[in-house]
């Protein structure tokens, strides 16, 4: 079954086509990565999928329902949660209170929401920091907090916007298994990611966005060897030059 489907999504900002006729489908249970050079429109695409921006044309279907034009909170209530590339903690509140805001989507009782926050914190490795104010967390901690809050809404689909960006290699190695465990628990994941090591080890399938268009999709290994992808990152003609000089891309 298809969890998320986009058909012909487009949005322009002034003269720039930020997302230009993107169609994609993410089947239930998949961990799909969305990659592309800076300015490719990845975060804008996430905003279109999660209702933070309304597309000028095209449609989004989530879990069998058309959600185009719906407000973000309503889409979240249907089971689509997102994180932000630039972390957005409720800085004055404790880690537990931050996560409880997400938990309240499904739990009315304050006590239940706080208890569920503890449980989610354990899943993402924040159990030791529950009483700290969110502002006291390191960048890695804040990324985990983004993940925890989204997870606390009990989503069917998670859109992760660069949860590994800004982390050092040890921190990345610590978060990768967390993401894998989320997928293994039955949550479908679509993640924007620049850390290719993580993409290669995590993703079932990779979508490549460049200049607002999807230029390639396939299994990670094939994508890494795709000349179109190499050129999108390194410039036109690079693939051919690399091939001539005998070096693998």
């Amino acid at each position: 079954m298809t969890m998320l489907k986009a058909a012909g999504l487009s949005i322009r900002f002034g003269g720039v086509a930020a997302v230009d006729g993107v169609s994609l489908a993410v089947p239930e249970g998949e961990l799909c990565a969305l990659i592309g050079p800076n300015g490719a429109g990845k975060t804008t695409l996430f905003a279109l999928l999660s209702g933070f921006l309304a597309p000028q044309s095209g449609a989004v279907e989530f879990d069998g329902r058309t959600v185009t034009g719906m407000k973000p909170h309503a889409i979240c209530a249907l089971g689509l949660a997102r994180t932000f590339q630039i972390v957005q903690p409720f800085a004055a509140q404790s880690v537990r209170e931050n996560i409880a805001v997400g938990a309240h989507l499904r739990l009315r009782s304050r006590r239940d929401a706080l208890a569920f926050a503890d449980e989610v914190a354990r899943r993402v490795g924040l159990a030791g920091e529950l009483d700290k104010p969110a502002s006291a967390l390191t960048i890695a901690g804040r990324k985990r907090l983004e993940l925890a809050r989204a997870l606390a809404t009990r989503p069917k689909l998670l859109l992760l916007d660069e949860v590994l960006a800004g982390l050092n290699p040890q921190e990345i190695d610590a978060v990768v298994p967390v993401v894998r465990a989320i997928r293994d628990s039955g949550v479908t994941v679509l993640m924007i990611e620049h850390v290719m090591r993580a993409v290669m080890s995590l993703a079932d399938r990779v979508l490549v966005l460049a200049g607002g268009r999807l230029i390639a999709e396939g299994p990670p290994a094939a994508i890494a060897a795709d000349p179109r992808v190499v050129e999108a990152y390194l410039g036109q003609g690079t693939a051919a030059r690399l091939a001539r000089s005998g070096g693998a891309p």
């Binding site: 979240c76 957005q88 309240h104 304050r110 929401a113 706080l114 208890a115 809404t153």
Partner: protein, 320 residues
Amino acid sequence: MGSRAPATGLGRDLAVVAAIATAILLLPLGTQSGAALHAVILTLLATVLGQGWNILGGFGGQFSFGNALFFGVGAYAAAVLQMRLGINAWIALPLAAAAGAAVGALVGALAFRYGLKGSYFALVTLAFAEVFRILANMLPFTGGGVGLMLPLDTRAAAMQFASRVGYLYLIGAFAVAGFLLHVWLRHSRFGAWLVAIRDNEAAAAALGVDAFRVKLAAIVLCGALTATSGLFYVQYLHYIDPNIAFGPAFSVEALLGPIVGGMGTVFGPLVGAIVLHALSESTRNLVADVPGVSLALYGAVLIVMVRYMPGGIMGLLRRR
């Protein structure tokens, strides 16, 4: 880590409310002085005003600069219902609160529908208070600029009391209701959503929080509670006119208390009201012979407090 749910402080908050209620109840045993009781009554009136503002501004981060709007609507609703329609004051109480809630819903629906925030929202509340002040001056049933004088009828059945103790208990009851509302905010899903919107509206929306509805509910609660303080004013002082009801004095009083006491805290409005009233009394006593100097001193102390205690007095206590 145990499986026990973390302590939330609900019991402690309720205990403090019970202690405050007891103190108000027992106060007449300590003093029967009219001046002392009057000072406490005005402090509690400022507390209720501050509580109304604190729901929307302190918890919700939507700074109203025109809360006199709700105060005035409550005051005029109380006076008009009793004097023009012969409705009993106790029945006018829920009606005045409903009128405050309705005006809150109107302002909120307009302002929040169009995403007004920060200074724009403050200006809109200020403008609404001004519009109502002009309306109160013009409309026939409000008595125009002359105002309305509530006839004396010192029976508890008419919500008027021969002794100040009756008024102390009345405003005390409103304040305790306001405290319980605050305790509920501090320990409920609605309150958690409201604070989340204050801290980061986009992040709250991404977590399923319907910011428009939550803010609308907050301004409705703010309007209803603030309107009861307006009703109390009319019952206690028997007079209201457009400048008192909708002028800037009560708008400023409503926001100063919580800001000085601690925005978004359960007891900040009370602490702020006590400190501000003590401050204004002592500056007045200190330089009684030169008119105006006491106000300048009051203002200077306020600036220092806001500059060096951004979290208010409650914030200062918590850090220690």
